[in-house]
Symmetry: C2
Subunit: 214 residues, 2 copies
Amino acid sequence: MKIKVASKILDANERLAAENRKIFRNKGVYVINLMSSPGAGKTSLLENTIRALSSSIRLGVIEGDIAGTDDAARIACLGAPVVQINTGGACHLDANMINDVLKELPLEELDLLIIENVGNLVCPAEFKVGEDMKAMILSLTEGHDKPLKYPLMFQESSALLINKIDLKPYIDVDVNKIKRDALSLNPSTRIFEISCKTGEGIGEWTAWLKGLIG
Amino acid sequence: MKIKVASKILDANERLAAENRKIFRNKGVYVINLMSSPGAGKTSLLENTIRALSSSIRLGVIEGDIAGTDDAARIACLGAPVVQINTGGACHLDANMINDVLKELPLEELDLLIIENVGNLVCPAEFKVGEDMKAMILSLTEGHDKPLKYPLMFQESSALLINKIDLKPYIDVDVNKIKRDALSLNPSTRIFEISCKTGEGIGEWTAWLKGLIG
């Protein structure tokens, strides 16, 4: 009974995600669904990405949070179009929530839309929102056991950004184990070691993004 | 329609949680539901707690993870009774999962049972498992904006442990803002600043635990 309900909800979401994707295609927008645990650095990555790409790529953002508008305010400060979704308790974004706010964004004027999901290493990986690609951030401080403990998120993500790499000297975390286990779950994942604080690795990430958008 | 289903699931969970609680009462076990984001330090806190209390309190553990048995192995090394639950994708523990494994633990011989929930700052706060108290860990590296962005978890938790306090010199995080916002959400929360790496603050936490169990 429970399984039947869950499957119906997923089906409805898949249908709406396909509709969103068609809209994005028609408008010529490449869409990334960005996911991570709370505090891994999604908004900081967006700030760095906007700063690096603003002269060459028109980037918009959808911010997903349970409550608050702090993240949208940070993005708006940089002059990028942004919409905040407050899920009011829901632990992930779904295609319906995204569809609801698309009219608030100037999609015709965007090359790239990044959707910052709710901070959660589990549920967001289960719900498509109409994206071309899923990307995830792991904060180095979360530890090297995370790929094998949260496998779906790593399997679903085409890019893995290992953030806060500047803290490596101060913590006992094996970066190579993270990479090895992530690649065992998804051999085609592109891995970036970055620091949103020092800027390390941001150039490689933004160059890769540019290549995707073409 | 969707809301109706969710409410039925919650009701069933509440009923099973009350049954679990009755069992714990009858056996004289105090139960803590320990929650946090992935990698905030739940298992490390358990290791520290077991080491500090093993001569005075009989402590057992239920480990909740989506996949893997790493955490249970770490607890078993310290000689504490432990059961691992693999949720197989589910993002939180519920009362039914706990009820299912109670026969695997020597409840009569325990004073304290700590249930380590799945790493997730959202969903676990919505599901009672039969606990006397919820406690949460926030890693300092997650940032000072977390209480206002994930309010339910902070509202529900009677204790907030701010872990990795040893990293304070290396990151831009305002500990006082975390405390202020956490207390605005739950004025009776007991806050501990700890480091599972250096041992800072562990003594205050374990002394408080001893007082609770009496």
